[in-house]
């Protein structure tokens, strides 16, 4: 299946390479992700997991190869259209990437404002999402005043609030205690149960064991399918 007509697939990578100078971060990656899959990309630090995620949302361009996301060919997307691609994703960054000078509410609301939603709707929706992730009481707090677990939950809230097609999560439980990690995992599972596609990059074997799902193994830029 390399023609991109497969209706059940949402992400396709064809012979993708990524180089940083002479450093090969990703080598000849060909990959198909179906709708409503829950995928783990595992591998040691430096294997290329974060790089792979960045290529999907055009955080950086590929060096070689082609990527299709939900019918969009990434090599044909101009800078002015890139937000249409980004709106397909909810991204949970390893370093959260919350705006430190804006409240939790404003951080989460940003996604909906950017897609032109009405003020009233935004107000209601953001509140309900923050309630779901369990930090409603921190709605007016600034991110630097939150604990790591709370920041992570705010980041998850921002990732799901726009009801994206796909969630990308980079080490979502990286620096969290196991209780907080469980909460995050449950939120991702909940998103998946409602029909979303989830891709999690992690070196946390414990998390993978608890969650189940398809596992892809990256090692020094090469993709290994287990089995």
């Amino acid at each position: 299946m390399v023609d991109g007509k497969d209706k059940s697939s949402i992400i396709q990578m064809f012979h993708v390479h990524k180089y940083y100078g002479s450093k090969k971060a990703l080598v000849d990656i060909t990959l198909n992700v179906s709708k409503n899959e829950f995928i783990f990309i595992s591998g040691p630090s430096g294997a290329g997991k974060s790089t792979l995620l960045r290529l999907l949302y055009l955080g950086e361009p590929v060096s070689e190869g082609q990527i299709l996301v939900d019918g969009m060919n990434l090599s044909r997307i101009s800078g002015k259209k890139i937000h249409f691609l980004r709106r397909k994703f909810g991204i949970i960054f390893q370093d959260y990437k919350l705006i430190p000078t804006k409240t939790v509410f404003d951080n989460v609301a940003l996604v909906l404002e950017a897609s032109g939603k009405k003020r009233k709707f935004i107000e209601k929706k953001v509140r309900s999402v923050l309630r779901t992730v369990g930090i409603e009481q921190k709605i007016n707090a600034l991110p630097p005043s939150l604990s790591g677990g709370e920041q992570q939950r705010a980041a998850v809230a921002r990732a799901v609030v726009g009801i994206p097609r796909i969630i990308l999560a980079d080490e979502p439980t990286g620096s969290l205690d196991s209780d907080s990690a469980d909460i995050i995992l449950n939120l991702l599972k909940n998103f998946h149960a409602h029909g979303g596609t989830v891709i999690v990059a992690t070196h946390d074997k414990e998390l993978i064991r608890k969650a189940g799902g398809r596992i892809l193994h990256l090692k020094q830029g090469y993709l290994h399918f287990p089995g």
Binding site: G79, H83, R86, I91, F93, K97, L110, E113, A114
Partner: protein, 292 residues
Amino acid sequence: MSTYYHRAVQDIRDNGFLSSVTIITIALSILIVSAFALFFTNANNVMNYWEKGVKIMAYLKPGTSQKNLHDIKRNIQEIYGVQDVNFISKEEAFKKLKKQMKRQSSILMNLNENPLPDAFEIRMTTSSQRSEKVEEIATKIESMPLIEDIEYGQKWLEQFTNIFDLFRLAGYTIGGIFFIATVFIMANTIRLAIYMRREEIEIMRLVGASEKFIKGPFYIESIIQGTLGGMGGIVALFITFKLISSTVENSFKYELLDIKFLSPEFYCGIILCSIFVGWLGCYISLKQFLKT
């Protein structure tokens, strides 16, 4: 649009210090440019007033008869370039003098006799208000019988016009320089604002904000700053003007000078210019900095 405005106002509030510095900078530039404009429009008015006032006074020998007066008036009127001729009797001239000298009029009261002569006040057509022309006409009038003396003051006026033109040119140049300087200051301020918020902008992009969504508030912010700065500059100028003009009017009792503030069209134009400067500064720095 309303959410852009909302965000712009919030950004101005969040970056209070930088915003105030920007607004004050614009206000000062506008103050300087409009102060020049104010000076030149007033100087221009005075010049026009004087030019309109180019006239020749022809003083008559004492005891000139009514009939002779009529003849002389007709003769003067027939000279090419003369617009109109006004007879000013010595009584009239005396009354005017007394009025002009209000407090010191007691000096005049003590005079037994009116020392002033009868006179004709001669105005030239516009095309003849040039020094050679005026001189030519004056010579003709002076050679007439019964004219004792003539008076006109075109020569120094002409020189003054040349100097004034030079000043005006300098004024335009300085105004232009300040305009450009303000655009650059504006561009730099926005650039600083973008630089300080580069992380925020990057995050906005990552969560799917369009370029329009990111840039919109910067434009609105700059336009608000341009408007406030422009109005601030004009208000500052107006206050300065009021303070100065009241002192000037106090020392010039006889209303020799009639200084006016800029016309509403003019200062609205300056404020529009200031808004444009804000927009342009924003445009330049966004063009440079927010490349994708």
